[in-house]
């Protein structure tokens, strides 16, 4: 979750704690598995408060876990006796969810709503306030024109998803050729997205100052689209609530790549991603290997964390790391910081995203839950094992059907495995088959 949203969420939770709306005496539940759920559970744990359960209307998510907390149906979670329960909601559908809880006998005081990615729509119909955002957006756009030139096209990636930016990079050449665009700037909103964009031959990459800038820019774009040469590189985005394309994701075989080729770049369903020609970055990769202690060809990087899809419990990763070590591999955890702790029995691996494909090719092996990092290294020659929760859905299909690297056309050499979250240890043997015991290194 982007820092600005995390801060918003924490501030609101803090306010609930201070005002006594949330206390240690209540049984706390969260409604809906999403980013806010994950962050709330983590934050409350730091305050020694445990979320006892996650309420889910989506039957395919019931029985799954988020941060070790199980998702159950709303009725099962609330039960008949619920006077000591409190439910936290963070969703744009909060009104319907609140209504559902009220109909089950909960009171208003027991339902706490977090406004993180969206604001509560004010009852008073505003004009001046939203216009301020539009004017700020216009200034941001004009600054872009001033910096580059009004002749330039501004291609905006309004998200922090590194996988999305990588996919954009693979489809951009065909889009530029089709539309005869030579002068353009790729506009991103985070340093990690900028680093991923650097993997490709993109002459100008501009990073906006923050999420507020993106919001204002999009407000200007939504009111006056014809005044700009802005193109939003996504099939939909929360800020652009007038675009509803995201709701057909996964329908009738339309996977991640298809959504972009059909609706974002209009290249047709047969268009395929073009992997970049990787630049020679030997010295930088050398530094990474020297500093971390990774050994070329004998290193497996494990990536247990994801923002979009489900994770596996630590037990799986610890057992995997132990088995790989016994087979002669060095095991490192791909860790982005304190929120992504290193798995016991491994060391931390950190390498800049712009050299991730080259670093992974040198390392030799990768095992991870499906995340944006998998897109970024899809072109590497490393042995890639990618894990999908069998029960995880994404819009209208399974996570595997939507995000499979092979189906997306990103690579055909990844081993992609669906696991059952109830029997996740069963998949351990399947994964280990891909990593035979290494011969001992001859001692000098």
């Amino acid at each position: 979750m982007y820092d600005v949203f995390k801060q918003k969420l924490q501030e609101q939770l803090e306010a609930f704690l201070e005002t006594g709306k949330l206390t240690g005496k209540q049984k706390i539940y969260f409604f809906g598995i999403n980013d806010s759920c994950r962050e709330t559970i983590t934050y409350l744990r730091e305050k020694n408060l445990e979320v006892l359960g996650i309420l889910e209307n989506n039957t395919s998510k019931q029985g799954t876990y988020c941060c070790g907390v199980r998702a159950v149906s709303v009725k099962a979670g609330i039960g008949n006796r619920h006077s000591d329960k409190v439910v936290i909601i963070s969703s744009p559908y909060w009104r319907e969810m609140k209504e559902q809880l009220l109909s089950l006998g909960m009171s208003e005081e027991q339902i706490l709503v977090l406004f993180v990615f969206f604001d509560e729509i004010p009852w008073k119909p505003y004009f001046r306030e939203p216009m301020k955002l539009v004017m700020q957006g216009r200034d941001i756009y004009r600054n872009l024109e001033k910096r580059y030139s009004p002749d330039y096209h501004f291609l905006l990636c309004p998200y922090t998803g590194t996988g999305d930016v990588y996919l954009v990079g693979t489809l951009l050449p065909a889009y530029l050729r089709k539309n005869g665009i030579e002068k353009y700037v790729l506009v991103v909103i985070s340093a990690s997205c900028r680093k991923v964009a650097k993997i490709f031959d993109i002459p100008y990459i501009h990073q906006l100052e923050g999420m507020d800038d993106v919001t204002c820019l999009l407000r200007y774009y939504m009111l006056c689209p014809e005044e700009t040469k802005l193109k939003v590189l996504n099939d939909s985005w929360a800020d652009i609530y007038t675009c509803l394309t995201q709701w057909v994701r996964g329908l009738h075989g339309m996977d991640f790549t298809q959504m972009f080729t059909r609706f974002v770049f209009e290249l047709g369903e047969k268009a395929r991603p073009e992997q970049p020609v990787l630049k020679e970055r030997r010295e930088e990769v050398d530094v990474v290997f020297e500093e971390s202690g990774m050994v070329p060809g004998r290193t497996v990087v494990i990536a247990p964390y994801t923002t979009t899809l489900s994770e596996l419990p630590n037990e799986f990763w610890e057992k995997l790391a132990k088995s790989l070590t016994e087979r002669g591999y060095m095991v490192f955890t791909n860790s982005g910081g304190p929120g992504e702790p290193v798995i016991d029995g491994t060391d931390a691996a950190f390498f800049p995203l712009e050299i991730a494909p080259q670093a992974m090719s040198r390392a030799g092996g990768f095992v991870g839950v499906r995340s944006g990092f998998c897109d970024v290294i899809s072109g590497s020659t490393a042995k890639k094992v990618v894990l999908y929760d069998k029960h995880a859905t994404f819009y209208n299909c399974s996570a595997y059907e939507y995000f499979s690297l092979e189906k997306m056309g990103l690579c055909d050499d990844a081993v992609e495995i669906e696991y059952d979250n109830k029997d996740y240890l069963d998949v351990l043997d399947v994964v280990l088959r891909e990593f035979p015991k290494l011969a001992e290194v001859q001692k000098c």
Binding site: E96, I121, F127, M222, L223, D235, C243, G253, E269
Partner: protein, 151 residues
């Protein structure tokens, strides 16, 4: 930009007037039908009760662009009690949409445009030939989990 701002301002005034006259609150679900396409409108009306139920709406307002469509809807059995059908000129709907592009002023309103505003890909989605009108209406506009089975 001035022209767009002016349109949004007019849309704002229309919305304020509607709120007052029709006593709109969160117990109300509103459907705006700007298109002449009969198949499209019929589909929107067929599943509107499912949307209203999802929103726990106690009353509904349907706005059609001309009297002829209003009369056709009034003659239909939409399957909802406490439902008002009104006429709102297309240009006023467009102004309301422009205000909506400036500010999402209400959660319980669905404006069934096929290719407006700028980022509305509905026509392009349907032209792909693999997504049905029912799927677009139910999943995209009404954001139901699936296309409900109707008898």
């Amino acid at each position: 930009m001035l022209r767009e701002v002016r349109k949004a301002r007019l849309g704002w005034k229309i919305w304020k007037k509607m709120m007052r006259r029709l006593r709109i609150d969160y117990d109300t679900a509103i459907l705006v039908l700007p298109e002449k396409d009969e198949v499209w409108n019929e589909c929107a009306l067929r599943y509107f009760p499912n949307y209203a139920k999802r929103k726990s709406a106690k009353r509904c307002i349907i706005m059609a662009r001309d009297r002829e469509i209003v009369e056709k809807i009034r003659a239909m059995d939409i399957g909802m009690e406490n439902c008002e059908v009104l006429c709102l000129a297309r240009f006023k709907m467009d102004l309301l949409l422009k205000y909506y592009c400036l500010h999402k002023f209400f959660d319980n309103i669905v404006m069934m445009y096929m290719d407006e505003p700028h980022d509305n890909d509905t026509k392009r989605i349907l032209q792909q030939g693999i997504v049905s009108i029912e799927e677009v209406v139910c999943l995209c506009f009404y954001q139901l989990r699936e296309v409900p089975k109707h008898v």
